[in-house]
Point group: C2
Chain length 442, copies 2
């Protein structure tokens, strides 16, 4: 049963408990395991990959089968329905179009005394993408990670995903990869695949940045190798927070809460409403929709532990509770959803109005579905082309410009006690003065 809370302080405490659900002390014990896996792959390379794939995925591979063959890629198209292929292509199109908007562009400015300043953007040389596998099948994850990398102009993209039964990969995942333009795919997953991407093995070349969601082992491995490579974020379990007023449709609110809860027993589904009538109607609709839910047990668990309805007095209070939670997904189901936007400071993605269930953004509206979780929206954003790009600052001074700031730099270098920093300016200014004298004498 989805609990209803009417007391503000209690609601705040509950939201805090739910937000902290991933900071579990159980993680500590897994860190040692993940560290051992990562170090072993770093030392032993492919041999360790095969060992861990046998141990964790129950699949006995050989080195030459790590990479998915061209024949297997071709065959995947035969195993996917025409409808699914069309849907993947539509999603890919929309995702590409959205990510092409407002891309970082190199620029320079020209100032006084011929000072040139600017930024020059470049993609990374090589990216690695993690896609969950085994029994799961997430073609959408492939698109959401691969397309921004492609749009950023990354010349090499490698994808890793754990093998399912019979060592096979899911055909929809393989098709999505090809639609996104990726053909370098390895059937390896878990912390071992992250280590392979970060340090390289004989078969899998080292990458510069690793993105994509995974279980706690994958996430811990990404944190461990961060610094050796770039990473997108540390993904936790998914969450939705819905702000709704009395005119919201309780069946629609309920199904959107369940669409979050069905992901994972750790997923969080939260409704904040100004209307007790809606609260009880949603509570009842959730119960009713759960009856025939194919993942009923899992979904009920998540609703029981991390589900919540908070009833508040005003939409402003709802927005402030939402900001404290900083949800991955925020749905605004009010009469005028845009009126509330200015009050929302922290949210990964915002879905406005009744006709925008989160599923639209999960799959094909265009914006990325890889979003900050567990309150990370306080400081982080969706995955994007920026994840696969970086810039170099550009600085050019002229002798005249250097002359004007010489004293200031000297004052600062003296304060910081950095002798040669000061000398690097003084020598140049001296040489320029000598040149001027020489020219005058000639």
């Amino acid at each position: 049963m989805l609990r209803i809370i009417t007391q503000q302080t209690e609601a705040q405490q509950e939201l805090q408990r739910i937000s902290a659900r991933t900071h579990d002390d159980a993680i500590v014990h897994k860190e040692a395991t993940v560290n051992e896996i990562v170090q072993t792959v770093r030392r032993q390379g492919d041999k360790a990959l095969l060992h861990y794939t046998a141990e964790f995925d129950g699949q006995a591979l050989t080195v030459d089968r790590l990479r998915v063959s061209g024949a297997e890629l071709d065959a995947a198209y035969q195993q996917v329905s025409k409808e699914l292929l069309k849907a993947i292509e539509l999603a890919a199109q929309n995702i590409e179009a959205f990510h092409r908007q407002r891309m970082p562009k190199s620029w320079v400015t020209f100032g006084e005394d011929d000072v040139v300043l600017g930024k020059r953007y470049n993609p990374v040389d090589r990216a690695g993408i993690y896609v969950p596998g085994g029994r799961a099948c997430y073609p959408s994850t492939v698109l959401m990670n691969a397309i921004p990398a492609k749009v950023a102009g990354v010349p090499q993209i490698a994808m890793v995903t754990p093998p399912g039964a019979d060592k096979n990969l899911n055909p929809a995942v393989l098709v999505a990869a090809q639609v996104a333009g990726i053909e370098e795919i390895y059937r390896v997953g878990g912390a071992q695949s992250i280590a392979a991407l970060a340090y390289g093995t004989d078969t899998i070349a080292k990458v510069d940045v690793i993105t994509g969601p995974g279980n706690i082992y994958v996430t811990l491995a990404k944190k461990l190798v961060y610094g050796t490579v770039g990473i997108d974020s540390l993904a936790g379990p998914s969450e939705v927070l819905i702000i709704a007023d009395r005119n919201a449709n309780p069946q629609h609110v309920a199904v959107d809460l369940l669409a979050q809860a069905e992901h994972d027993p750790m997923a969080a589904a939260i409704l904040i409403t100004t209307d007790m009538g809606l609260a009880t109607a949603v509570q009842a609709a959730v119960e009713q929709q759960l009856v025939n839910h194919p993942r009923r047990t899992l979904t009920e668990k998540s609703i029981a532990h991390y589900g919540l309805i908070a009833v508040v007095d005003t939409l402003e209070q709802a927005a402030e509770l939402s900001n404290r939670f900083a949800p991955e997904h925020l749905e605004i189901k009010t009469d005028d959803p845009w009126a509330l936007i200015d009050r929302i400071r922290h949210a990964g993605a915002i879905f406005l109005g009744d006709s925008t269930p989160e599923a639209v953004g999960d799959y094909l509206a265009g914006p990325n579905h890889t979003l900050p979780t567990s309150g990370a929206a306080r400081y982080a954003s969706a995955l994007g082309v920026e994840t696969f790009m970086k810039h170099s600052s550009l600085i050019q001074y002229s002798p005249a410009a250097l002359g004007k700031v010489g004293n200031a730099i000297q004052a600062l270098t003296q304060a910081e006690g950095l002798f040669s920093h000061g000398e690097s300016v003084r020598l140049r200014l001296n040489d320029a003065a000598t040149d001027r004298l020489r020219q005058r004498d000639e």
Copy 2:
């Protein structure tokens, strides 16, 4: 003595060794210490801060002295020369002007069927800035971290820096903080201060993002709390790589190498040149300039262990070697430095021409001096306003737009086995169809 290497493979190996100088196994032992410090501060708050400040900084503080008082801030102005104050103000002006350029702006697009997509940028609520202290004095670090946060619009910025002798903080640092608009300053440093910023104590409120360079303990603490808060990067020892041809001034090249080496025995100073004559002239100039260097021993150490001159055949080879190293600072001292820019893919900041010693950018040109080190320029950029901002994706679909993508979403949700995701669309389309029928019947 700065070594000269003419053999390409050897140069590559040496650059790789230098790049990996921070991936020291000694770090592993420090991780346990840092973890204990962080967990203790998380549990005990201020009490632990006082304990560690006594232990590591040798200063016995009380809780009420953790925060720097207004009187102390005022007094700092009296202890700073007029020249230094003017220099700090000039630097602040230039840094602000540069960081105001091309700031992320919110946007929306309006598509077919009233689909609205966009991004909405917001600053973080509260930022924490680490500034090294003790014997060191880095007003430039204050400006380079605080100003981007201010420009981003962060309403609360807290600065931490370890106390020196007599519990005092450096007056130049306090003045720089005030010029940048920061008045919330705590005399606490090390891993303990990072933990305080990440988890909060009674005195220091929790922040959303932590930036600023520190020693290995600070860096390891930042990595540990990453995920609970955002961080800028994991800073390693500083490095410069200079590409120069035969017309470069050997004294200028030498002093720029020393300006890097004098930072730290782990700092790296590398010259890649197409001219053996320049190589030997720079080698001699470095020796000569070291004779009266106030930090001679430290600087000689860094030159001996992590200094290098590589002589190559072409500037293209130099650029490729540089890309493999992905230097924090790259100086191009060639006849036409801009001609080489297209070949540079990875560098934190690029300084073009003889009149642009790195010191110009370190202090006051405007671009940020907090840059990716140890090869991180392959995937990371300078600190900037983006470090203190994040965005929410915006998505609004209309009933008509949802109707058109309904089948595609159903195909994808079925492939991924997510029942309620599909239902969230199906229910809405059914309801819309029922509405249409009802309207027709009325």
